[in-house]
């Protein structure tokens, strides 16, 4: 629904009948995204640690950036149905590390993401570092 609204153009002939629902949908997805912000930061911090530990620096730097995805992108993907826990987390956010081409970082981020997802759903407390 958000995608349809965001890409609609006057005169395109498309009548968007559910326009009244858009502000509520936008607010809901924004809130849901915000719940992933702190776990994403933890994951990115962990990624920084693993890049440094693997000595996979580029130009002597550890370059890790995290990104919260756009509301409309999240809405798109959520509307497609259920996904696995770690893939679901990837719908909301991304963490990037700049490393040398072909370099691998031996880290099990999937497990960390599953734990983060469990915290967001309330299965684990937010401050559980295990």
């Amino acid at each position: 629904m958000l995608r349809g609204f965001f890409t609609w153009e006057p005169g395109s002939g498309v009548i968007f009948e559910r326009v009244g629902e858009v502000p509520r949908a936008f607010a809901a997805v924004s809130w849901w995204r915000s719940q992933h912000a702190e776990p994403l930061s933890k994951t990115a911090t962990s990624l920084r640690y693993h890049v440094a530990r693997a000595e996979a620096l580029v130009d002597g730097r550890v370059d890790v950036t995290q990104r919260l995805k756009r509301t409309v992108t999240i809405g798109d993907k959520l509307s497609r149905g259920s996904v696995a826990a770690n893939a679901y987390y990837g719908l909301m956010s991304r963490a990037f590390a700049l490393v040398e081409r072909g370099r691998e970082i031996p880290v099990d981020l999937a497990t960390e993401l599953q734990l983060a997802h469990a915290r967001i759903r309330g299965v684990l407390p937010m401050d559980d570092a295990s």
């Binding site: 912000a37 702190e38 990104r67 756009r70 509301t71």
Partner: protein, 88 residues
Amino acid sequence: MTLRDIEHYLVVHDMANGRTEVRRFGTDYEAAQSAYADVEWETREDANIDAVLLSADSLETVKRTHSSYFERRQRFEHLLPPGILPTG
């Protein structure tokens, strides 16, 4: 570096003119997220605006990992043969 040292940058790229604006929020993630939602809502009818919330230890890191937001104009310009682009 700890969780609380991460700085947040709202990067707003206008694809129509190739300009990128960076709004800095320091370590205030909540303010950054709020501004992110505001920009998305305010520009919802402008397909040329690409807003993204990026967080890292510094803006330099953001520019290195997401260089396309900052170098797009130059990247394409250098691929063009001389004389294609207007001068001045």
